[in-house]
């Protein structure tokens, strides 16, 4: 037994190193004063505020719109719908941006009827929703499917109605998986770049999220870009942490 565990650890180390060392390098390249200065600048505060607000809205929309979809997908065989939900996950973000433009752009199906969404904050949320919701739906479907049918049958025999089953059995059992889906969706929305750059554009205060601001800063001020990256890194960690702790309280 000990030998097997040691082998697993050895095989796991290379990827763990690849994932952690670049982030440590990023932290090493920045200093506390750089990060503090970045946090104090108007541009970063605007971008950070915009990123947090849009990601939070996107997360709420993911749960509100994605949970019914996940329930439907878990209750039967829907191969086409499952494929459509999985596609944005494998599409390059730039492709997602072009796809959104073909619908919402001025020459797009919806856009040509007067609803012009490109270059708005709404566009940022839509782009984030497009790439993040599939992650939430997929995780929720997996969590719901993992619940043994027998538990539901036993509950029905004991007299529980549909609502009681959802409230006291299904949701609590699926909760860890749903929570993981929410964390994935939030992280994806926070880091979204390609689709927002193409669809929403990059205007400070309206559409320039922190990810876009870092890209622009990298042009002339690498130190600022690194400092902003550290800010984004800690923001993501803080949001994930907050979400996990709040959900445990709800449990």
């Amino acid at each position: 037994m000990p030998l097997k565990n040691r082998l697993v650890v050895v095989l796991a180390l290379p990827l763990l190193a690849l994932l952690s060392l670049p982030l440590l390098g990023l932290l090493g390249r920045s200093s506390v004063s750089d990060v503090w200065q970045a946090l104090g600048s108007d541009a970063v505060q605007q971008a950070l505020g915009l990123s947090i607000v849009t990601s939070a809205i996107t997360l709420v929309l993911c749960v509100v719109l994605g949970t019914p979809l996940a329930i439907w997908l878990s209750q039967g065989q829907h191969p086409w719908a499952t494929l459509i939900v999985d596609l944005p996950t494998v599409l390059p973000p730039a492709v997602a941006g072009l796809a959104l433009l073909s619908l919402f752009g001025r020459t797009g199906w919806i856009g040509s009827h007067g609803l012009l969404l490109a270059f708005t904050t709404t566009a940022v949320v839509i782009a984030q929703l497009f790439v993040a919701a599939p992650l939430y739906v997929r995780a929720t479907v997996v969590a719901l499917n993992a619940i043994d049918d027998d538990i539901g049958h036993a509950a029905t025999i004991d007299g529980a109605d549909t609502w009681q089953q959802w409230r006291y059995i299904t949701i609590p059992l699926a909760w860890p998986g749903i929570q993981a889906g929410m964390a994935l969706a939030l992280a994806r929305a926070l880091g979204e770049f390609g689709a927002t750059a193409l669809f929403a554009g990059s205007l400070p205060g309206r559409t320039r999220t922190l990810a876009l601001a870092i890209y622009v800063a990298a042009e002339t001020d690498p130190a600022a870009a690194i400092a902003m990256s550290v800010v984004l890194l800690f923001t993501a960690m803080a949001l994930l942490f907050l979400m996990k702790n709040n959900n445990n309280v709800v449990q």
Partner: protein, 256 residues
């Protein structure tokens, strides 16, 4: 069981040399790192250079001049760097990767305003009208700096409020000038400030407002071979500044 463990370890270790090997590029041509607005003209210049000197094709990387300069400083493979302004070039010179004496001016390009067909922007004054969607490059990029200078120049003709009104109409500050043009050509923006060379190939697909000479802003492109570059890097820079290259520059909308 022992054999399976052994194979697992070998498979895991074998991945890494394969990853490293894949990263070594197979091309033996020059590595050209150029500003995004130089992409098509550099491809044409390289083709002409290939046929005259019988060398392999160069690999060309394009992007915002400042970001490219930073990549070169960070160690990206590069033989010749061509930037859209002196500031980006000076950064690489300051990092001691390029000799200041090797930097040459290679071409000029005038700034123009590209307008999407169907937009209500018949002249430069209309850029300040309410509701017009304007796109510019970000002020951290050469095209963005030139664009702001252009607005200052035009304010002398159109009044003190002109720059503020046009700036209020800007819906996006892009990270490179090609992204500006793309927003105009796909129809979402009404007008964008780009280089004359960017619109040359588009013909009728786009309307172009030229700037009167007294307000014109002319971008100056510079290039230099890197210190430890391949042998014919300096030769390539000489070629693109030679008389035989003039027609190619002019065909692409540049002045030399």
């Amino acid at each position: 069981m022992q054999r399976r463990k052994f194979l697992a370890i070998v498979a895991n270790l074998a991945v890494w040399p394969a990853v490293v090997a894949c990263s070594k590029t197979a091309t033996s041509g020059l590595n050209l790192t150029v500003a995004s607005s130089l992409n098509s003209v550099m491809q044409a210049l390289d083709k002409a250079y290939q046929s005259s000197k019988n060398t392999p094709a160069a690999s060309i990387q394009a992007g915002g001049s400042g970001a490219l300069a930073q990549q070169i400083i960070d160690g990206a493979a590069c033989d010749v760097f061509a930037a859209a302004d002196h500031a980006a070039m000076d950064k690489v010179v300051a990092a001691k990767l390029i000799d200041a004496s090797a930097v040459k001016v290679i071409a000029h390009a005038a700034l123009v305003v590209a307008v999407r067909p169907g937009a209500n922007v018949p002249d430069l004054a209309a850029l300040a009208n309410a509701g017009v969607k304007v796109v510019m490059a970000d002020k951290t990029v050469p095209a963005g700096k030139y664009g702001l200078t252009l607005l200052d120049n035009l304010a002398k003709t159109y009044g003190a409020d002109y720059k503020a009104n046009v700036s209020a109409n800007v819906v996006s500050y892009e990270a490179n000038v090609k992204a500006v043009l793309q927003k105009v050509t796909n129809g979402d923006a009404d007008a964008g400030i780009v280089y004359a060379s960017d619109v040359v190939a588009l013909g009728d697909k786009i309307q172009v407002l030229t700037i009167p000479t007294e307000s014109a802003v002319i971008a100056e492109y510079v290039a230099a071979p890197l210190r430890n570059a391949a042998a014919n890097a300096a030769d390539f820079v000489d070629f693109i500044t030679s008389d035989s290259a003039k027609t190619i520059w002019q065909q692409h909308g540049f002045t030399v």
